[in-house]
Symmetry: C2
Subunit: 323 residues, 2 copies
């Protein structure tokens, strides 16, 4: 089952069940938005799957692609991991920082009061902040009680999403050195239009990992196509880590961190900082800069059949209005 | 004006306007909860102040003290600073870490999907995690646009609250060393029953600081009475820091960090870790441990007249149910 959220003027938008080909959608009268549905998922899933069968049989309206928002335009919690060791290794080179020694998943708490829609222009105040994209996968949870083990956590993963975790690199290292994590360096993320149940991924959902290529274009040029399979921890392990000392509210999103592969020389990467590290390894210094106002980024996760299951993130970086 | 939230079985509770003596409360039909009211504060404030005048004239019901929740039982964002230099200095000794060199406020993003009520027992999984309290002040904001300057930020501070930022010290240093900030070491906070408009604090609201003694009792014994005036940055400056690269959603809470004073030998402190650092300074090693199951903590902010303007946090640490 694929779900999307249409802009209807409300903060949480209008939940739609989407046809398999992504061209039609239908709203369910009982479930106004995804935040409400994920809060009572065992009931909502039954209703939404019945509607999904109707949509498959031809019900629904043409999907208003330009009015789609993030599946969850806001939620109660966003915890982002850094689960790809290749990403961690390359960022250490890009940032000129020491190797992080830690026997648990790396994870930070980010802002969850706003997620940009898939085609929404994204405003930044200053190009000098080092505007970078980070292509990731994420999972949406129902309520997870404190102390849930990884083996049980897999059943709390209700939906899978594709995320662009916008990052401001010039602000990142000073914040990281405080040990307090990122506030200024991590503004709101963007999310691809379709949230899908894990079964939609078929064999590509394995060991709590999204084993799909994440294809990234910067200014319409191919930039990377790393695969999600190389996570050092599966999403169920990330959920257990997050829930070790707290309940996780229904609607919590857990991110994978930037998708990266050991054969980066072949597949490229999912953020500019990594690419700069690859240049440092190859020639001693980075040559590419970060994003400029007017730049675009496109991200989509391709199935082996060439099908973008989450739809596409396609965004333009713009200058924030001066205050 | 003082506001509280009564448990009515809903996630956000029922907003009450509270009498000046804290004994009576009344609900407004238009504003079911504080999260809704803060989202449209210019309208809500007019309605709630009219009701406040009625309550002052005798309207309302006896306040159900045991059923009061946090003023905001959940909200969209919680950003906690560490604005007291004395706290930062003592924590460096307690943790055995290096001095943090940073020319901006220290701030991390914490969980905001749950705030414990003022008398709610607080469950933890393991005493070995180093259960500690942190007495703080905080402010509740309406919507703050990205790039708002400190001079303008002061007008976005609509309410002031008193917070216990529960912390798990054994988990804190390893997480801090990753640079990613705290996830496992920072479970949900508790909040005192009354959120107050800044004018309720009179002269004690100065330079964006709550210039009141925060009186802390651990197991009914006096532990600290540090004053909120020694913040290195005022709340308006903390808001501007937080809003540098993001909008802040209405309902965002910004925390001061643990209240601490340079004359700690005289006034004590607002968390156990600081007290351990004070012992290290005095005698080379800490003698006190952290909280045990069954321990209690009480916190209230006293006006010069001996009046606890936010009411009291009074909580018992309990063992979380085994899973």
């Amino acid at each position: 089952m694929r779900l999307a959220t249409r802009d209807d003027g409300t903060p949480d938008g209008r939940l739609l069940v989407v046809s398999s080909d992504g061209t039609r959608g239908a709203a369910h009268p009982r479930w106004p938005n995804l935040l409400a549905a994920i809060g009572d998922w065992s009931s909502a899933r039954i209703d939404l799957e019945a509607l999904h069968a109707d949509v498959a049989a031809g019900a629904g309206e043409p999907l208003p692609a330009q009015s789609l928002r993030a599946p969850l335009p806001r939620t109660w919690q966003w915890l982002d991991a850094s689960a790809f060791q290749t990403h961690a290794d390359l960022m250490q080179i890009a940032f000129g920082t020491e190797r992080i020694e830690h026997d648990k998943p790396l994870m930070y708490q980010g802002l969850s009061d706003r997620f940009y829609g898939p085609t929404e222009p994204v405003p930044f105040r200053d190009e000098a902040h080092g505007i970078d994209f980070e292509g990731e996968f994420g999972v949406v949870l129902d309520h997870v009680p404190m102390g849930t083990a990884a083996a049980d956590a897999i059943d709390h993963i209700k939906l899978v999403v594709q995320i662009n975790d916008w990052s401001l690199r010039s602000l990142a290292v000073p914040e990281m050195k405080t040990g307090f994590g990122w506030v200024q360096a991590k503004p709101a993320c963007s999310v691809a239009p379709f949230a899908v149940t894990p079964d939609e991924l078929g064999d590509a959902w394995r060991d709590g990992r999204v084993c799909l290529d994440l294809v990234v274009y910067w200014n319409a040029k191919p930039f990377g196509r790393a695969n999600g399979r190389e996570m050092a921890y599966g999403f169920h392990q990330l959920v257990a880590h997050a829930a070790a000392t707290r309940d996780l509210a229904a609607g919590t999103i857990i991110g994978s961190g930037t998708v990266a592969n050991a054969n980066y020389a072949e597949v490229g990467s999912s953020c500019i900082s990594e690419q700069r590290a690859i240049e440092i390894i190859a020639s001693g210094k980075p040559t590419i800069g970060f994003m400029q106002f007017g730049d675009t980024v496109r991200m989509e996760a391709m199935t082996p059949a060439g099908w973008a299951v989450f739809g596409a993130i396609e965004q333009t970086v713009v200058a924030a209005q001066r205050r």
